[in-house]
């Protein structure tokens, strides 16, 4: 069996039937993604390693619960990773070591494998648009977005961590998300002047 020829959904189906080769291939595709999300959330490599192990162990145990009709495989994996990392962050009850500017504006990762080439191309275009839009966001907006996405912090918690007024933090996150949404919807056409806060 050449697992590299299988798309993500087929790998998950095989993992659900205890196929270790399929898990090996899924690890090759997604370990960087999982480790990176965990590291950006927790700020410590040892914790990120632990989360990575737990995520793939959970995939092994819960593969049969995955539903392709509800989410892409990589979306499912990111959700598992983010939830686990945020849980650890909250249990630790200490100041998070989140990288305030973890965003990059260069092509970096093929996010998933699908049998649908058009879908892959569309995703690649969308991801390039997102990276370009992220690069153009004001630093303060990118920072607030990082605390929200990787840390799962509430507006008030982010306001406390950044020592900024609550309203300012809400505005930064909302404007950042609006700009990114426009970029995904319209590409460069959605690249309108932003309100800098």
């Amino acid at each position: 069996m050449d697992y590299k020829t299988l798309d993500d959904v087929s790998l998950i189906a095989r993992i659900a039937h205890a196929d270790e080769g399929a898990l090996d291939e899924l690890y090759q595709r997604y370990s960087r993604l999982v480790f990176s999300v965990a590291l950006h959330s927790l700020g410590e490599a040892t914790l990120a390693e632990e989360v990575t192990q737990e995520v793939f162990l959970r995939i092994w145990k819960k593969a049969e619960t995955y539903r392709a009709s509800h989410a892409k495989v990589y979306t499912w994996i990111v959700a598992i990773t983010r939830n686990r990392a945020i849980d650890i962050l909250r249990q630790a009850r200490r100041r998070p070591q989140i990288d305030p500017l973890p965003w990059v504006d260069q092509d970096s990762l093929k996010m998933h494998a699908s049998e649908d080439i058009e879908l892959e191309i569309e995703d690649a275009i969308q991801h390039q648009r997102l990276r370009a839009a992220l690069a153009k966001l004001p630093k303060a907006q990118r920072e607030a977005l990082a605390y929200a996405f990787f840390g799962g912090f509430s507006h008030q918690e982010i306001a406390d961590l950044l020592a900024q007024p609550l309203g300012t933090v809400k505005t930064r996150i909302r404007l950042a998300m609006q700009r990114l949404k426009q970029a995904l919807q319209f590409g460069d056409e959605g690249d309108e002047p932003s309100t800098r806060t």
Partner: protein, 245 residues
């Protein structure tokens, strides 16, 4: 900020998509969404942003030995609790024919036992079962779709078409508010053959309740529907097949 049920929640949707609203704020958004198409579409757009965000992050390479650690934990888990052990066809067939209270059901069950006796435990896939069922029963193989390429299914129908059982394999378990529904197709019209769930191993069975003899139907399909079933197919098709001849 307090909102009334008819107020739009546009400003809250980015934070809702990020999962950073308080419980009370989430409840307010969720009470508004069912009645507002515009906000649902807006939320879907923000959800796509959140989904794409990992594509914009700096990537780090995990340590080279991390994969070995992952595989070791999986091996330890498998040794401690072999939860993924295949259920034997004995058990699956027994479950499938459990509702067989009619004479045909009993005869069919005995027939399957007879056929199975020589090599029961070698049967690992539904296709193998299909090859062995005798002329007293009619079988129709169902194939997975692009949604569930790993899924297989088999309809076993009595020669007179009055009774039938469905056995499926490799379908994902659904949440509490959804079930699988069998559709019986004739001249483009679809009758429901019943609803069913699968266990965590992906196996499920259904004693088919059909308004017409089953052999009058030319094709069969299974979709995901709200629990209790729908009047017609509304969800993703997960299995399908046609009766030959």
């Amino acid at each position: 900020m307090n909102i009334e049920p008819n107020d739009h929640v546009t400003d809250w949707l980015p934070a809702y998509a990020l999962g950073i609203l308080s419980d009370a704020e989430c409840e307010a958004v969720e009470s508004h969404l069912p009645s507002c198409q515009a906000c649902r579409e807006e939320l879907a757009a923000y959800a796509r942003v959140v989904e794409a965000l990992p594509a914009g992050m700096v990537l780090h390479i995990p340590p080279a030995d991390l994969k070995d650690k992952v595989m070791q934990r999986i091996h330890r888990t498998a040794q401690a609790a072999p939860q993924k052990a295949e259920r034997t066809w004995w058990r699956r067939l027994k479950d499938a024919f459990r509702p067989a209270t009619t004479a045909w059901g009993w005869v069919s069950f005995v027939l399957v036992l007879f056929l199975a006796f020589g090599n029961l435990f070698a049967w690992q896939r539904l296709s193998a079962l299909e090859r062995r069922v005798s002329a007293d029963l009619i079988t129709i193989a169902l194939q997975g779709t692009e949604v569930t390429p790993q899924a297989t299914g088999l309809l076993v129908v009595s020669r007179d078409g009055r009774h039938g059982t469905l056995v499926v394999d490799g379908l994902p378990a659904l949440d509490a508010v959804h079930q699988y529904q069998l559709w019986l197709i004739r001249d483009g019209e679809r009758d429901s053959g019943g609803v069913f769930a699968v266990d965590t191993e992906g196996y499920g069975s259904l004693w088919i309740e059909a308004p017409q003899p089953l052999l009058e139907y030319s094709a069969f399909g299974i979709t995901i529907e709200p629990a209790g079933g729908s009047a017609g197919p509304t969800g993703d098709k997960v299995l399908g097949g046609e009766r030959s001849g």
